[in-house]
């Protein structure tokens, strides 16, 4: 065999060797990817179907997913949740497919994620809980203040939401041990800021309250402002 042919033969053997070594894993990875795509697409379809039921609609609204969107509508929030589910499953499948190909980086990534998963879930759960609680309290604050005629209800509501969320992040960081020092320090600085702003805001509020109390007393003496609510 002439040298060039020999070289080609060696190349062919090397290629077959490489392919026969990689192919099963490649096929498995492709199948896994295909499977995850099928599951993701089915989950998205099921979500789109299920979201038309009343309780899922209600859950979408109450969880704040709907009002968190740029253009809130039930259809948009359904699509949003379905897309989140679809991409989570698909990306999870892709990560495992990469790991099957024995890519060292992907394997390390998957192993890292698996080890950290419980902690991550706990942290995400706490932050999501704080986000939801913050939304609930801030909405209650907003409605109450708007009905009482207190100025700037949006700002107070935003302050409530932000404080609860910040508290949630601090708790999550403590619970998971993630960037504890950094978040603890940030939280303390934030708390100091909020305390300062609240103190600054309370002084004029107290002044307004005292003034209005005097005015009310004066009006009561003149028989004003005591009309009962119509029945």
């Amino acid at each position: 065999m002439s040298p060039p042919l020999h070289a080609i033969e060696e190349l062919r053997l090397a290629f077959y060797g490489a392919v026969s070594g990689v192919l099963p894993r490649l096929i498995a990875a492709a199948l896994l990817l295909l499977g995850s795509w099928l599951v993701a697409a089915s989950a998205r379809w099921a979500m789109n179907r299920a979201a038309r039921t009343e309780w899922v609609e209600r859950l979408l609204i109450r969880s704040g997913v709907l009002s968190g969107l740029v253009e809130p509508s039930l259809a948009a929030s359904r699509r949003f949740v379905a897309d989140v589910i679809y991409w989570s499953i698909l990306l999870g499948g892709a990560a495992f497919a990469l790991a099957l190909l024995s890519d060292p980086f992907a394997s390390r990534l998957v192993a890292f994620v698996l080890v950290l998963l419980p902690n991550m879930l706990l942290g995400v759960g706490i932050v999501l809980g704080a986000w939801w609680l913050g939304r609930y309290w801030s909405r209650s604050t907003l409605i109450w203040m708007a009905n009482e005629g207190i100025h700037y209800p949006w700002r107070w509501a935003a302050l409530v939401r932000f404080s609860v969320l910040a508290g949630g992040i601090a708790i999550a960081s403590e619970a998971t041990g993630f960037a504890t020092l950094l978040i603890r320090s940030s939280f303390l600085i934030l708390l100091a800021g909020i305390t300062y702003v609240t103190a600054q805001a309370l002084l004029p509020l107290i002044q307004i309250y005292v003034e209005s109390a005097f005015r009310r007393e004066d009006a009561e003496q003149r028989g004003l402002g005591k009309e009962p609510l119509p029945r």
Binding site: E54, R58, I61, R62, L66, S67, P72, L74, Y136, R139, S140, L142, I143, W144, M145, A146, N147, E148, G149, P153, W154, E220, G223, G225, K226, E227, P228, L229, P230, R231
Partner: protein, 417 residues
């Protein structure tokens, strides 16, 4: 005839708060009224306390300079927050014990009471066997604007009957209705504690008791300021109404209503309506101020079309148009959509009630402005037209309430009314 042994045909009861005015004059009027209109009937006057008595009933009775009327202090054992219901319950128990044919509840703070009220309220019950008689205060349709714009029309649309003033503190109740009320187990519920009169009249309407109304002179509850904030008061009333709607949804009509307006005794009032304590602008101002803060949340509980109506109402107010009126059709859809949002818990119920408050005040303000120069008959016609709207959209409301599409209520040219 005030005391005739162990029985009494008529029991007249009052629930006294700590700041209730002395009732000597009221007791005098009652005694005069009973003597004049019902001399043949035995009667008793019962007084219940809003709070647990610190003195024993006997001591308190002795301390009262009204023994000559044979006032009976009645109590019912209870725990928890003081509520008028406890007093009502004690009076009802007493009336049952006395085998009364009619139990008349009076408000000790009612300065407008005249002895002919006794005749007007008791006669339909004792002679014509009506189970519940409520007053219609002459010329006071604008004063009772929550009743006229919300409570009465919705009760009438869903149950085909009901009084115009379901929150009046003066009620004449038959022994039959009284027994039914005493047999209930929801005396401690929020609706019974916060809005007992609405609770009683709603039950009477929903359970098809015979309801009548009687015209009396204008009500004069002295202004004493509200012990609770306006939004809390509205949340209690509207929340109570929605709770009762939910409790009685199985009794809603399945077909077209057979409407039966409560029989009216006495002469319908003609003339100018009474002035009310506010000019409507205060309420409109409240609505306008709340709009920017709450509009994004209103979008969650109202359909786009209804929200557009609210927006155009705001624009009309801001332009200072004379016709700044929240139209009947829009108002009915708001009420029905908010009620359904409350039922379906689209947002937490307390928040839905809070979101409804400025909308209600907007409607009351615009109603007050629209009717301020009207004769009483015209105001009554306005309210009667509103009832028609509530009735016309009632079938669609039932579908919405039961969880059908948020777009279930007809709009634009689809309004049946």
């Amino acid at each position: 005839m005030s005391d005739a042994g162990g029985r009494a045909d008529i029991v007249i009861g009052m629930v006294m708060g700590t700041d209730s005015p002395p009732v000597h004059d009221l007791a005098d009027s009652i005694a005069g009224g009973m003597k004049e209109y019902f001399p043949q009937y035995s009667w008793k006057l019962a007084k219940a306390s809003l709070y647990p008595p610190c003195q024993s009933p006997e001591e308190e009775l002795v301390s009262l300079p009204m023994q000559r009327f044979g006032v009976h202090h009645v109590t019912y054992p209870w725990h928890g927050v003081p509520a008028k219901t406890n007093g009502y319950r004690a009076i009802f128990e007493y009336a049952r014990q006395k085998q009364a044919k009619v139990c008349l509840l009076l408000d000790p703070e009612q300065a407008g009471f005249q002895k002919n009220w006794i005749d007007a309220l008791v006669r339909p019950g004792i002679h014509s066997k009506y189970d519940l008689v409520t007053p219609v205060n002459n010329g006071a349709a604008r004063q009772h604007s929550i009743s006229g714009n919300l409570l009465a029309p919705i009760i009438r649309a869903l149950f085909g009957r009901g009084p115009r003033q379901p929150m009046s503190s003066e009620l004449a109740i038959s022994a039959k209705l009284l027994n039914r009320l005493l047999s209930r187990h929801d005396w401690d519920s929020a609706v019974a504690r916060y809005t007992p009169e609405l609770w009683i009249t709603f039950i009477a309407a929903a359970e098809q008791f015979r309801v009548a109304e009687s015209t009396v002179s204008p009500s004069e509850i002295p202004a004493g300021g509200m012990p609770i904030s306006r939004q809390t008061a509205i949340a209690q009333i509207v929340g109570g109404l929605f709770e009762l709607l939910e409790q009685y949804e199985h009794r809603w009509p399945t077909a077209e209503n057979e409407n039966e307006v409560a029989d009216l005794f006495g002469q319908p009032f003609s003339g100018a309506g009474e002035s009310v304590g506010n000019d409507g602008l205060t309420y409109l101002g409240h609505f306008v101020e709340a709009f920017p803060s709450l509009q994004s949340h209103w979008r969650l509980i109202l359909t786009p079309h209804t929200f557009a109506e609210v927006e155009s109402f705001l624009q009309a107010i801001q332009r200072g148009e004379s016709g700044r009126y929240l139209a009947d059709a829009a108002w009915v859809r708001i009420v029905y959509e908010v009620a359904s949002a409350w039922r379906r818990r689209i947002l937490p119920r307390s928040q839905v009630l809070g979101l409804f408050t400025p909308l209600l005040l907007g409607r009351l303000g615009s109603f007050s402005l629209k009717t301020q120069w009207m004769e009483q008959a015209e105001t009554d016609a306005e309210l009667a037209r509103l009832v028609k709207y509530f009735e016309a959209l009632q079938p669609a409301f039932q579908r919405l309430w039961q969880g059908q599409s948020l777009k279930a209520l007809p709009h634009h040219g689809q309004d049946a009314a």
